[in-house]
């Protein structure tokens, strides 16, 4: 892999200082664990003159529970998240998703915020410079055509973070810190369906924290399809959160990853509330997921397979959670 280009590292001690430095240096990049950014810098997929290291910002590594809300600093590592007792007991989808990311040596460094802001991925983009040059580049970097959809005017690189769908299913909000202070928005509004500009994050904003409601009686989980049991990014990932009223569905929330340029919350499931989890309900789940997702040739694994496998993952997961909710 190529050597890193020349850049300076700034190490602010507070989030406010980090945002100020970002405003002063528009071409800079934030770095936390570095497990996504460093390989991308080395492949020449991203470039920067100044790296703002968030490693000294202790306030971003805090986990706080207040009442029925858990607040997670964006700098909490995925290993910490997966081992946190409150997360494991009340937000299992989040613990399972964090544990599914890459391998254990990545998760000790990789952070919640980094996984939520993960660079979108594509088999035509995540390659060496010589490979991309031989293919005359692509729209996401140095080219003008999307290789997976050549007639399209947009890029279809896939969002491949595991944690985002879990947090969408759990109804999380994000706190963004900018020069004017903090603004909060639902996690779904952080994302845009575009492989090149997938984050609605201002140029001088920092993803500071995530808040997740703790809902009594809710069960949740995450299922991931990948080539190997570790290291790999998802070919498809599904998170679900469910409550049960006796033999009827109370609430069902599903979100997917790896099958679109943003993590997708699956709409149209509200009508299932009050209904039994029967064949008709499973058919509705399958139909709504297929309406929502748009897998493209961003991986070497075929599009029809990922399109068929995603609702299968969801139905298995919902069936498992349904039984789990009954035992409660």
């Amino acid at each position: 892999m190529a050597a890193l280009s020349e850049f300076r590292v700034l190490r602010p001690a507070s989030a406010v200082d980090a945002v100020r430095l970002r405003g002063e240096h528009p071409a800079s990049r934030f770095i936390a664990g570095g497990t996504d950014l460093v390989p991308n810098l080395r492949r020449g997929l991203v470039s920067t003159d100044i790296v703002i290291d968030l490693g000294n910002v202790g306030e971003m590594r805090e986990v706080q529970r207040s009442g029925d809300t858990l607040r997670l600093g964006a700098g909490v590592t995925l290993a910490t998240l997966a081992a946190d007792p409150t997360v494991r007991a009340s937000l299992p989808a989040l613990a399972q998703a964090a544990l599914c990311v890459a391998g254990p040596t990545h998760r000790t460094a990789a952070t919640l915020g980094g996984n939520l802001c993960l660079e979108t991925r594509c088999q035509y983009f995540n390659q060496s410079e010589s490979w991309r040059q031989g293919n005359n580049y692509c729209m996401k970097l140095a080219g003008d055509t999307c290789r997976v959809a050549p007639k399209s005017s947009r890029c279809y690189a896939a969002f491949s973070g595991d944690v985002a769908p879990a947090l969408l299913a759990l109804g999380a909000e994000v706190e963004l810190l900018g020069p004017q202070g903090i603004r909060r928005l639902p996690l779904a509004e952080l994302y845009v369906d575009d492989g090149m500009r997938w984050l609605a994050l201002g140029a001088d904003e920092l993803l500071f924290a995530v808040t997740v409601p703790l809902v009594a009686g809710r069960v949740s989980g995450y299922e991931k399809l990948r080539m190997r049991g570790a290291i790999d990014f998802p070919l498809a990932g599904v998170a679900a959160a469910l409550t049960r009223d006796g033999e009827a569905i109370g609430e069902l929330r599903i979100a997917c990853t790896g099958v679109s340029s943003r993590p997708e919350f699956v709409g149209g499931l509200d009508a299932l509330a009050g209904q039994p989890l029967d064949a008709a309900a499973f058919a509705t789940i399958e139909r709504q997921i297929k309406r929502t997702i748009q897998p493209m040739e961003t991986t070497t694994v075929s599009v029809p397979y990922r399109r068929r496998a995603t609702p299968v993952l969801a139905k298995r997961l919902v069936g498992r959670l349904w039984d789990e909710a009954k035992r409660r």
């Binding site: 892999m1 890193l4 280009s5 020349e6 850049f7 300076r8 590292v9 190490r11 770095i31 664990g33 570095g34 497990t35 460093v38 390989p39 080395r42 492949r43 790296v51 290291d53 490693g55 290993a79 890459a102 391998g103 254990p104 040596t105 990545h106 000790t108 460094a109 049991g229 570790a230 290291i231």
Partner: protein
């Protein structure tokens, strides 16, 4: 531009002038000459460069040297004591956990972190802890047996 980096490597405090864009693996191998840490895939996919940062396994090829300032780094060179292999290193030697040897420093460091956290891991826990480390010789069975041997403390001749 080089700036001063202060940290501890294998228990020894250090101060070195290091470029902002230097990776931890380059600092260890090129500046300090600690070539036991291997450069494998060079993109965070194989685990050959695993070192310990404050006791936690980290990938030196994905870590900027300056991001571990003031931290304590341990490499494979720090495990032996006065020329004697550590218990884990001896177990890898006696149980044939090393074939070509290229993945071995990373495997040993990842396993070392596991055994400090969990001195009696199950076979599944060992497999999970080493899930980010690839062996191109595919000698996984012997590697796991080596970690098990070190964990259960079976007497291995020095």
């Amino acid at each position: 531009m080089k700036t001063l980096l202060t940290l501890s490597v294998n228990g020894r405090p250090r101060e070195d002038a290091v470029a902002g864009n230097a990776l931890l693996i380059d600092y260890l191998r090129d500046t300090l000459g600690l070539t036991g840490t291997k450069q494998g895939c060079d993109g965070g996919e194989c685990g050959a460069c695993t070192v310990l940062v404050d006791g936690e396994p980290r990938l030196a090829c994905c870590t900027l040297a300056h991001s571990v300032a003031e931290r304590s780094i341990e490499t494979i060179e720090g495990l032996s004591h006065e020329g004697n292999l550590s218990r884990l290193q001896r177990a890898f030697h006696e149980h044939l956990g090393s074939q070509c040897g290229f993945c071995t420093p990373g495997m040993v460091m990842a396993a070392e972190a596991l055994l400090r956290r969990n001195p009696q891991p199950s076979r599944d826990e060992i497999r999970e802890a080493l899930a980010g480390n690839l062996c191109r010789c595919t000698g996984y069975v012997k590697i796991i047996e080596s970690v098990e041997a070190a964990a259960c403390g079976s007497e291995v001749p020095a």
